[in-house]
Symmetry: C2
Subunit: 336 residues, 2 copies
């Protein structure tokens, strides 16, 4: 092995939006896999809102990325050398490979994927963590019933697009909240949402009142902040709020804005429940099979927003927080 | 009937703490019950934090008290005239009789109680709405398991004292949060709480860390505000928060303080669920029977804080918001 590996390492804990100086772009020789390890050439890196949280030195559901460490990221790649009995050269795999060109991995958390069944980026999208998050968050926590009104924020993102489409499959009325007319048109015209609210151009509270005349039965929250507060004012009795994320708050330099209208939970006998997708790992395969079926039947569309070039990582990550992606944001690191 | 009836009517919607001018003290002749009605001489009036909410002109789980109407309140009294087949003169009854000396009531929501089984104020306390709230909120929503750590705020109040004692009966570790050393001593020494935190004299967050080394499994919240936020920082995985009230926020003239640490729900896969006791009406009798059994066995103590004189109503109500009561605050209107 004489190739070089490039990677992005965390240089400093960001204050507010991550800046260029918060990263170190480094070059190292490509390593050789030890016994029980594989060498993977990284092809696509997943860019996720959750990555911002991993950059903070705070107790969370996963330990922070250390200063000087390669930035943690899910990725898809191809095995180029293997000393692991379950993986062969040429296999495509998905796992936590990091923001880099080559990764050495023991087999843990590495899953073989088949590029003939779906394009590789889909394994970071609808058939990956965002899809699993949508599937288990909506079905296990939100528990939508046919005829329910389901509202999802961050609706044009990787998780939101899947939440809304599964809710339609379950015969719910679906209202998406997204930023901009194009995203809203996409939700309505391409994905079949019953309504879409442009939070940049509309009064969300008023629009929710208009589009949810019987209140909200399930609110799937990806954004927090004022939109969560607006949704709280429109809950139906017994409503379920799924707390999946709070992208509006991740780059705060002031304290998180708590939901001032939380007493609506009391008035409406409603619940607000947090979820972390990793808890459902033993059911990923079942979910993937069901979602692949929906995709094959044309009921579930997967959309990826692909940016090419490892060196675009620092800025591409910010696209998430600026609301510039539609569908799953993926960084293409290499062409196969 | 030639007696006179006195009552407190809502004169204005209060801004912040209710003031003397927000009430009209009025005198009317005592009415005569019509067909299917009873006349009740009111003996004890229940003073509850929820009454503050009923004074606002806001959508809630119950309609607001109208300007000029007798203030709504639960009360215990004695039937002095009856044209209702199920109630006889001399019967003791509990129901929503209002802040007044005499009430005319149709039978709906009126329940006969037996003063030989428990002192009358207990039917407004442990065997009344606060007791039912504690019972169903803790057991149905909080779902405590033996060995769990249960934390309750407003712990020395009508609901909190019962929550903590039931949690002890269910073999939980119980930590109460209350204002002042005397209340804390009462919780520990009289009611058998494992620990009590004086929020007026201690750093609640630090004290919770000390007294809940394995985190909080069930948090029963009566107060909201900073104490809810402190509890959120100490949740155990899968914790259940019961939102029963938010007394710290009821007299706000600024917006309610939302729980800034609500993303702890996500990190800890926890839930926050609102409850309204009226939903459990068809199970009140079962709960009362079980709680009466615990009282008879000496496992559940009921404490009432009794203020005498209808004219003390406006100020007695404020005792709740100033944290001056220990146990259930009751206004004695008449001596039998």
């Amino acid at each position: 092995m004489h190739a070089t590996n490039h990677q992005y390492r965390l240089a400093a804990r960001p204050v507010g939006m991550p800046k260029a100086e918060d990263w170190h772009f480094t070059e190292t020789p490509v390593g050789e896999p030890g016994d029980g390890e594989v060498l993977v050439k990284v092809l696509y890196v997943s860019l996720d809102p959750a990555m911002r949280g991993w950059m903070n030195d705070a107790k969370s559901y996963i330990k922070p990325v250390g200063i000087g460490e390669v930035m943690r990221a899910g990725a898809v790649g191809r095995v180029t050398a293997s000393r692991h009995p379950q993986f062969a050269v040429g296999d495509h795999v998905v796992g936590s490979l990091g923001v880099q060109e080559y990764a050495i991995a023991d087999g843990k958390g590495l899953t073989r994927v088949d590029p003939r069944l779906a394009p590789l980026p889909v394994y970071l999208s609808t058939l990956g963590m965002p899809g699993m998050t949508a599937y288990f968050g909506l079905l296990d926590i939100g528990k939508p019933q046919a005829g329910n009104t389901v509202v999802v924020s961050g609706a044009a993102g990787a998780v939101g697009t899947v939440v809304g489409q599964i809710a339609k499959i379950k015969d719910c009325r679906v209202v998406g909240i997204a930023g901009g007319k194009d995203k809203c048109a996409y939700l309505r015209d391409e994905l079949g949402f019953d309504a879409a609210i442009d939070y940049k151009g509309e009064d969300v509270k008023k629009a929710l009142a208009q589009h949810c005349p019987n209140g909200i039965d399930v609110y799937f929250d990806n954004v927090g902040g004022d939109i969560l507060d607006a949704a709280l004012t429109r809950l139906a009795r017994g409503a379920r709020i799924v707390i999946c994320g709070a992208i509006s708050q991740y780059n705060n330099t002031t304290p998180v804005k708590g939901p001032a209208n939380y007493l609506s939970l009391l008035v409406n006998r409603a619940s607000m429940t947090g979820m972390v997708v990793f808890d459902y790992a033993d059911r990923y395969a079942v979910a993937a099979r069901e979602m692949a079926g929906w995709m094959a039947a044309g009921k579930l569309k997967s959309r990826e927003d692909i940016v090419s070039g490892l060196d675009r990582f620092p800025d591409a990550l910010l696209m998430l927080f600026r609301g510039e992606n539609t569908g799953k944001l993926v960084l293409q690191v290499a062409i196969e």
